[in-house]
Symmetry: C2
Subunit: 328 residues, 2 copies
Amino acid sequence: MSVVSQSLVKKTFVGKVLALCGGVGGAKLAWGLTQALLPEQLTIVVNTGDDFEHLGLHISPDLDTVMYTLAGIHNRELGWGLAGESWQCMAALEQLGGETWFRLGDRDLATHLFRTQQLSQGKSLTEITATLYRQLGVQHTVIPMSNDAVRTRVNTDIGELAFQEYFVRRQCQPKVLGVHFAGAESASVSPQVLAALADPDLRAVIVCPSNPLLSIAPVLAVRGLRSALQATTAPVVVVSPLIGGKAVKGPTAKMMQELALPCDSMGIADFYRDIADCIVIDEADSADMNKLGIQTRVCKTLMKTDDDKRRLANALLAIVEKDLLQGK
Amino acid sequence: MSVVSQSLVKKTFVGKVLALCGGVGGAKLAWGLTQALLPEQLTIVVNTGDDFEHLGLHISPDLDTVMYTLAGIHNRELGWGLAGESWQCMAALEQLGGETWFRLGDRDLATHLFRTQQLSQGKSLTEITATLYRQLGVQHTVIPMSNDAVRTRVNTDIGELAFQEYFVRRQCQPKVLGVHFAGAESASVSPQVLAALADPDLRAVIVCPSNPLLSIAPVLAVRGLRSALQATTAPVVVVSPLIGGKAVKGPTAKMMQELALPCDSMGIADFYRDIADCIVIDEADSADMNKLGIQTRVCKTLMKTDDDKRRLANALLAIVEKDLLQGK
């Protein structure tokens, strides 16, 4: 595991950026932003609606996906977990008749054991996250959306499911009838998030191309976060997770269809209309350019290579600096 | 992992045996007894005074040492843990700055995760132990001494230490001033242990050559167990863990000296005098034969090979059958 190299990157953006993200897609852009911005310029707020307790461990899938990605030790083939992971514990657990539907790698287990122990000692998820990221050499600031439990629940045609039951155990197969975020109304936004949003140096909020219904909605559901986003003077830029009406990965398109939401740029624009100042869509959707009733910009949003991630991050920052901030 | 082969062993002993044991030395003889007795003939009662909570996991070191030994998957080099174990989780935990003084192998972790989850679901340690042993193919009955928490505490020249703090973290280096078993007075003996002791077919209780102060004393400290042992009609046979005044492994001799107990056959005889009908000492100590004020037999008690373990088990059963039971 190595500290992310930043020495070769020229940082030119002035001011600070706050990014909201969930899992894999969001983590890719978050990594791109760390390559374009200095540690003190970037705060990444991560969804914890996917968090759950399993085998007595507190597991924070999105915080870990972002952490492993920023540390450069993520598993690029699986899309989750660690590169070069081993699975001895799961193999032994299977022999014992234990639950193995949620695959925990041997090295990944250390993260969950550490976090669970620190939580039991009264540390906050924000403190523990900072420690974990620091130990893995990540220098940029990453904050869970809340220290309080918010749990994404998916209402489906086979009943209400906890998020991981729907997402991992049943592989997103049940038809989605609705989603809600248990605990969100009583959860408090992490104070560091509110401080970052109120920072006079904040120049942009970037909503990463994560699943809006499962990864960004829980963040926005935390009491006070939506209004803080509406109150911030920095432009809020949403990167659409759809390309040509399809998601790069995951059940975004399937869910939008099941919920009768338009599965296109307009659906995304509608979803974020009350907080977004600008929506960024892929070149494949450039025909939507003037139809969305909101400032729209076109970029190549697909991130396959590290170069793609850097390029999208820099393109977004250029849109913010040379375009959205010009009138302010 | 394989079921212990029993097909080649001729079982001739008639009736049932209950064995008390702790860790490594006890596990060796326990394995020997499983080779000489059918599953329905043998009940093994294991010390849980070493149990502790670590990294949020409930760890039962003696139950696991006995389990891995009986399943034939124990690590013969280390004397604890699993053969062919990997250590990826510990390596990752070390990088995170977590606690790694108690080494948990990747496959071993599955045992602790399974046990901890089952305990949190309200299962008893006895039930969970039965499940774990069965899953690993062990057919003989193994029971924790109690389902209630009994925690061995070691009073030392640097203060009172939890057992694993003394034993593993400080490698038995502090001078021992005393030992006590927190919770023992209010703990209940596992009902299966009492039933085994009251079974009219019981022909012997064998106290394995475990550390008397750390492995057997906590068993005897559980409320009601000592009196049940005194009340049983079967002879109680103690195998001395000392050979020529030295322990085969572990701090038995060092502790006996620190506590000013005679570190020889007499010390062991005194320790067990109120429950023992017979003490078995090693050939090296045959000079003590008629000095102990208790029936004494001499055997080769050192167990280096599997043959040694089988031979000692059969020798003990022969002593019981042809000797101690003759007068009854």
